[in-house]
Amino acid sequence: MQSGTKAAGRDFAPSPKVDAVMAAERAASFTKRSIKSKSKLAGLKLALSMLDLTTLEGKDSPEKVRALCAKAVNPGAGQADLPDGLPSVAAVCVYPNLVKHCRDSLASMGALGRVKIASVATGFPSGQYPLDVRLDDTRRAIHDGADEIDMVINRGAFLAGRYDEVAEEIRAVKRTCLQEGVKAARHDGEGKGRAISLKVILETGELETLDNVRFASDLAIRAMDEATRELEPDTIYSALHATNGTARNGTHEPHGTHRSYSSFDFIKTSTGKVTPAATMPVTLVMLEAVRDWYLETGKLVGVKPAGGIRTAKQSLHYLVMVKETLGALQGVNELHAGGWLTPELWRFGASALANDILRQISWLHSGKYRANYDVTEA
């Protein structure tokens, strides 16, 4: 299937337009909510459990990744004044070369599969590589142990109006995730078949307008769904039955005709390498795209803002936005308990955020506000 041939015949339904002034106003309204006492503590723990603890530097070392994993599994270790029962974060997020170190490190702590390994792939952050290189990047990351692939879209093609090409590349990566997932070793070592979640990074800072953000969101959501429907249930189910004798080793049970084998896929704002990264208006527009997709199809897609979310307070603002945009949808809890206010459907991509959340939790817990040096580095 070549881009621009079959894809040219695909129907790109127009996306709803976005009024930037009113979207910004609505986004700002979430920051006015007053989150106190119990709801603050619950919100902070929730935010912690939704973190993709990230390091994406050229100088990243295996040792740094081991520290990151330790922090991910037990974020409050070594810090006084924290309550018991803090959650682990959702995932660690690293470059493909470091995935195997994450796998070894998490395995040594018995946390493999519980704290997910997310890997940026597909020629992150620019995506300016030939498609087969990007697909191979994806394949290797999964082979090394990644549970989640954070891919970048081809912004050049998008901005040039070559939407078919963008969509086809997303489909290709999604197909790779599904196919490689079937072949990949399970984390418990018993057979093969791992649910691979795909996060499509729109790099909204380069898309510039909210109209583009909305259209890119819709395009990515549709493309992931198309690829999933192309391969399922035949390929995936039969492959899994053949390998394991069960099709039920994904993170989620199939939900009627809507959900099937695999974790939820995501759309994600940014690489963190471009300014502006995640903003509330941009994330709001993506939430609206996800909501409209659910209303249209009954399917759930996750959202991950990444970059620029540094403070506990910001993370609460985002949770308020999720709650008030997607909290009142009927039928979601039956598909996935807790809806978007769970790590399966909402993530924060951040590195500094974890420690600010921990400092706020310790303040709520003990009345003491810890210094920066009291919380451990990752």
Partner: protein, 541 residues
Amino acid sequence: MSKNGETNGVAVQQSPSTSRISRDSNSAPAGWEYSPAPETTKVALKSSYGLFIDGKFAEPKGAKRFETINPSTEATLSEVVQATPADVNRAVAAARAALPKWAGLPAAERAKFIFRIARRIQERGRELAIIETLDSGKPIKESRDVDIPLVAAHFFYNAGWADKLGYVFQGQTSQSPKAKSGKGSLPEIASGVRPVGVCGQVIPWNFPLLMAAWKIAPALACGNTVVLKPAETTPLTALVLAEIFEECGLPPGVVNIVTGDGVTGRAIVEHPDVDKIAFTGSTEVGKIIAKSVAKPRPDGKFKRLTLELGGKSPHIILEDAAIDQAVEGIINGIYFNQGEVCCAGSRLFVQESILDTVVKKLEIRLASLRTGDPMDKNTDVGAVNSKEQLSRIEHYLKLGQTEGAELRMPGYSGEVSPSNTGSKHGLPSKGFWCRPCFFTGVQPSHTIAREEIFGPVLSVLSFRTPEEAVSRANNTPYGLAAGIWTEKGSKMLSIAKQIKSGVVWCNTYNKFDPASPFGGFKESGFGREGGVQGLKAYVEV
């Protein structure tokens, strides 16, 4: 390690069946709820307030008093005086006596007083916001972020004009005989510009202090003196404003504040020594006032009059609108201040092709609105201002259904019927409450599409072509405001030009700014408030 084992929110791959229950109370509650966030700052309210006449608070001998209550609890907040016609006489006399000196002040000096008042309003902003919420039932979020900042802004804006009126009325002054100096005439406040005189101002309960600011600030800037009557149910912030006038050293008699009901209002309107009446309120009362003012005073002069009355404003959503933002505009248009807004977008016209989508999104969005304790910082919709107003709203909730429209009460799962509208579901038994709701299947002939409800009740209608939207939108005795949503500029401008209303908001709603004139067409009144246009009502040129 082990302490995190079971509390982690992330599903364990090997045991999918436990992924649901592993999210315990320590990590990710399935429903994350907001804790109560009440505004707890204490404000000092007096147990009773006198009348503010000639720079002093005083209680007339043998005065009758009445209570003002908190509409969300029905608890008494304070008592105020029922001013008699004799009290109004004294207030008008004080205003008359203060007039020559106040009008004769150098304009920049007058401006200083108004600037000082504006700053003091900001300094006492939190207190004013709390009192406004206590007395009116509106959410603290709105009184804090909308009402009080706008009050200060109106004083700042008009203070700025005080010494620049010559520029405003440049070229408009030469022909008018009234502007010529004569016996007993007031001093010029700019070349060829004189104050009107004593202004009688009667204001409503929906934006108590903001309406006072709209009336008082331009009057003072133009050298007039004022007798103002706040609404019966919401007198408190106007009385605190009087305290601020005292603090700022405003000369006695320049602003007088008298409390009371319609009898007091009538005494002001019919007073022979009042030069101008400014009224904001119902069309019904506005018509009575217009009749009364149509008769000349004993000295043969006519009173001036501006009226800002009711509305049934059309809110038009075209199929090429940014729908999610339009839904926000609809919400803001009708549920802001419990819908107790004269320019509320109470008639929603949605283009046929997107009607179902808009109704669905409206339903979803409405379910996330938080109705309840106005003092909670997270409350979106507070209490209805009075028992009378609530029963008026309830009348329409029943009538709309019996006339054939379908009432939708999101957040209420029971069956809705004329005898049980669900409008009180989940709300306290004390206080005056109505859940935000809307009607679908509304026909233009239905009463709920024609009469002003003044509550959190929206009537949803549809249209097929822009031409039909315009003709339906204009099919009303009112003409205060309108809203248009489309991403296409030419369409927006073409429709905006054809709508007969004082304000047309495009891709937004309920935006207020002191620099922007506000006022109605047809039965929504005449005269403009705000902007340079608003100054005209307060000068003779």
